[in-house]
Subunit: 319 residues, 4 copies
Amino acid sequence: MKRIAVLTSGGDAPGMNAAIRAVVRSGVYHGLEVYGVYRGYSGLIQGDIKKLELGSVGDIIHRGGTVLYSARCEEFKTEEGRQKAVEQLRKHQIDGLIVIGGDGSFRGAQKLTALGFPTIGVPGTIDNDIPGTDFTIGFDTAINTVIECIDKIRDTATSHERTYVVEVMGRDAGDIALWAGLADGAESILIPEAPYQLDEIVERLKRGGERGKKHSIIIVAEGVGSGVEIGEKIKQATGWETRVTVLGHVQRGGSPTAFDRVLASRMGAKAVELLLAGERDKMVAIRDNEVVGVDFDVAFSQKHQPNMSLYELAKILSI
Amino acid sequence: MKRIAVLTSGGDAPGMNAAIRAVVRSGVYHGLEVYGVYRGYSGLIQGDIKKLELGSVGDIIHRGGTVLYSARCEEFKTEEGRQKAVEQLRKHQIDGLIVIGGDGSFRGAQKLTALGFPTIGVPGTIDNDIPGTDFTIGFDTAINTVIECIDKIRDTATSHERTYVVEVMGRDAGDIALWAGLADGAESILIPEAPYQLDEIVERLKRGGERGKKHSIIIVAEGVGSGVEIGEKIKQATGWETRVTVLGHVQRGGSPTAFDRVLASRMGAKAVELLLAGERDKMVAIRDNEVVGVDFDVAFSQKHQPNMSLYELAKILSI
Amino acid sequence: MKRIAVLTSGGDAPGMNAAIRAVVRSGVYHGLEVYGVYRGYSGLIQGDIKKLELGSVGDIIHRGGTVLYSARCEEFKTEEGRQKAVEQLRKHQIDGLIVIGGDGSFRGAQKLTALGFPTIGVPGTIDNDIPGTDFTIGFDTAINTVIECIDKIRDTATSHERTYVVEVMGRDAGDIALWAGLADGAESILIPEAPYQLDEIVERLKRGGERGKKHSIIIVAEGVGSGVEIGEKIKQATGWETRVTVLGHVQRGGSPTAFDRVLASRMGAKAVELLLAGERDKMVAIRDNEVVGVDFDVAFSQKHQPNMSLYELAKILSI
Amino acid sequence: MKRIAVLTSGGDAPGMNAAIRAVVRSGVYHGLEVYGVYRGYSGLIQGDIKKLELGSVGDIIHRGGTVLYSARCEEFKTEEGRQKAVEQLRKHQIDGLIVIGGDGSFRGAQKLTALGFPTIGVPGTIDNDIPGTDFTIGFDTAINTVIECIDKIRDTATSHERTYVVEVMGRDAGDIALWAGLADGAESILIPEAPYQLDEIVERLKRGGERGKKHSIIIVAEGVGSGVEIGEKIKQATGWETRVTVLGHVQRGGSPTAFDRVLASRMGAKAVELLLAGERDKMVAIRDNEVVGVDFDVAFSQKHQPNMSLYELAKILSI
């Protein structure tokens, strides 16, 4: 193996740049040439590929987003598109590809491996929803962004009868809502994995009001429903003023946290090592603080589940 | 004058604590006793009044919200309610009252003065919408909160055809949208003071797309309309993905900026000086970097207008 | 067990308040009365003990420092002092004590257990230097504080021949320097666990300069030596301008990160569960993402060692 | 005037990028071609000059540092060096130069004007020490950086007898120390403009200790002396533990605040307008919220003085 490439795909996540840096620098350390593919699978098909040097990844470890950009690509979903991708890789004499992204990106990578091209995945998504790894790159930053916003909402010191609803990302996975909710002492946390009862939420709110709470915060993962609509329901059920915040793409950005930078650095370096060891069709994962390789098939055979003991703990601590 | 009181009223704003601290400390410095009224005019009517010492306002200069709390008060809008308020003040042998709040709070203060009780206003509101002062306490913090959020949105590096709509506070005044939009290079800024043309926004977006802009940001003051609805309109007009963020009460909180802490400190101290000089029926204002007293009547006779030259500048710089 | 107490001891760490909150709330959830001991062992000896209610720990999860304060206590190091402490606990009818702090605080706790009083430790220190647990409360916040500062240093864009030395905390343990250095791409990381060679540092600096690096950052754990002095040595060896930052107690404060709040919440709740299960002479630890109880003796028999694979990785990635 | 150039010189300051963006975009708006000179006067002499387009300054408004870099230049201090600079400008057919920097940079600009080449200065320095303007670009960001650090020091809740000394930038001007000290309620503020008495500092510390203050903070501008040494003196005089923080170049970086971005945008645009109006030998200034042009000679004839009324106020409020 003499020449490898790296791309970022899917929704971007803080820490992707740290992972790119680690791929390039550890690749060079091991005597490889490293190429960057711009705009994900779309740029791969179009041959938007450039050599990266040590200096190409200087001063990016602390930046959000991805210097390689990311884009959706319908064409890559076709057999023909993937053939073009492999041709581009061969044309550039690239021997292995590292794909930084989420679940969907890895399924694409697996199909390249099926076409005979070695790929390794690095889990980068703020949603933390990839089975087989304890954490994904970007998740820690996203939950810190959320709690910084909620901390500010906490400051508003008004009448007792006020409720704040905060809608956070998470179409299928409740990890962001769950961790941020626990970390911020939210009164109720609504996640796709646990059905919610409006009655129970209202009861908790009223109990808090009676106890003299100055405000109550309800975190809603977007997969559960619209924060605006849930806020309206709560208002009707309680008669209290209800204010809604929809954080949206604020959660995708920001300078990565130390945890995400270290995780991304370790994972990027591990991906290079796996390629050098002749591995393919695997993703890098962190399990019990160790960075390891996991077969894509093993990862895909599982279903991601957030740590539901945190859900129970959050209920106890927000009484 | 031997004994004065201070209260916070209306929507809270970062820096109110710094103003309270300045009232207490400079009051004590001038030999006065200073009392805190809790929960605004509501607490005033109910006699929720306590003596504040130097140490009562220690370690609060950097905290958002207000340690005196704030609350709406329907009763104070009645003649009877205001009579009760004056009685409470007299009962506690208080000689002057400092009201930290917005426009509506000052109209209440003025009515106390009409009942013979000296009041001085200190402008505290994130909206910067009080005529007669260049800046209000909390505005600088609010716009910094907004731009920190928009900076994060800027990080997401995806396809060209994506638009972000950010709804910010400002029911009647566009100052937050205007300053934050200029500070963040927003493509379009929608404020109540300037009618918007959907056509023009769409045209600017398309021009940016042609020029290769990776994303476009549109800031909407809530007084203009719902960010969600405006996002929908833009999506329909452009066919581009449009993501909406509604920052809500995130903007009311946070540790105050240096500017707001210094402004609040100066204004709080000035309010005490005005009371001591026998002034009443005035608000403290900052004009051309000087902290001065302005008659409530003069302030109320004007209409707040944001600096529209910034609006023109923002248009030029976001081409 | 009907009544338990909690105290914080030693240098404070962000997240201690979240741990106190978790102790109180999960204690009440399990039907216990929970008392707070103020100013650590010093307050324990003096009987500075008050009952904490659910509301006593409201709105503290996001605050740095400790609402129970912390203080050194020479008297507790004597047999007589510890006897007084146990008498106070018995006088208040307290059945178990949770000590949030570091190594030294736990040795104190163990001596109370030896006097027949059940204690459980919760590891709270920014240094991450307690054997037996993967992480301590406060460490994640501290390294994020350090990297935010270094990120700002990174912005200064001047001549190539400039070196920045940043002295961080860590008298005996290099964890802060190591993680922050890896997370920020520092050119050299000086930790107590690895002897440093001035020659090697200078060589790395020169190599970076030749490669066109705009700046080089050297992180020094305080246990290695004074940042000011090491900066002077580097300046003499390279002839380059060398700027020194000594972060000091900035690293002890700040709102805790999501990671620290979740860790502290889990650990505080676990400490209560351990007491209820009749355990004593143990500390709570996180191992492989699980929160467990570990015998103090087992913990003390080990020596803390940072993850040296990160040290090697940092060297590779900062070439 | 058809073609103008812009450079950044001296110590960099947050907001310089926003000023560069404003120069380029408003230049293009007015039909000009705008060139960027890299690495200050040094790059000017060497002809390191490139055309900047609208897109060249996209996504930089929020970044610290300067995309044009900055460097010291001994050669420019010679007549010969400046002749070379003018030749380069003429060779590139540039009709006017905008210099973003401090005092020293402006004296250089003035000498170019003396050689017949029109220059306009834009005040960019964190020190706020340029006479003739109320504020300089970068100052607001720097003081916010300082107070964020001091806020963290405030969190540490230990014994009463502890003093924190924070050394901040300011060799000749005390503005950073003064504003940050007032904004953070520092017990003592040591600036070059006011001689300090160790006795008075110690007395204030002791008074605070008696009043039950949990900590005392002393801000020292570097021009007054070394924070480490002053800390040592205080320790000897009080016998209390004294901890020192030296913030160093942390203060030069960071994303600019809203205030600095708006100020820089206005000033950059004004500089272009001045050049177009045939002005030269002037600097842009903000006076009483208005952005105006001021003769270099007028500016240089004054001496910068911080607002000493803030110094008095800080003393009153930190009792």
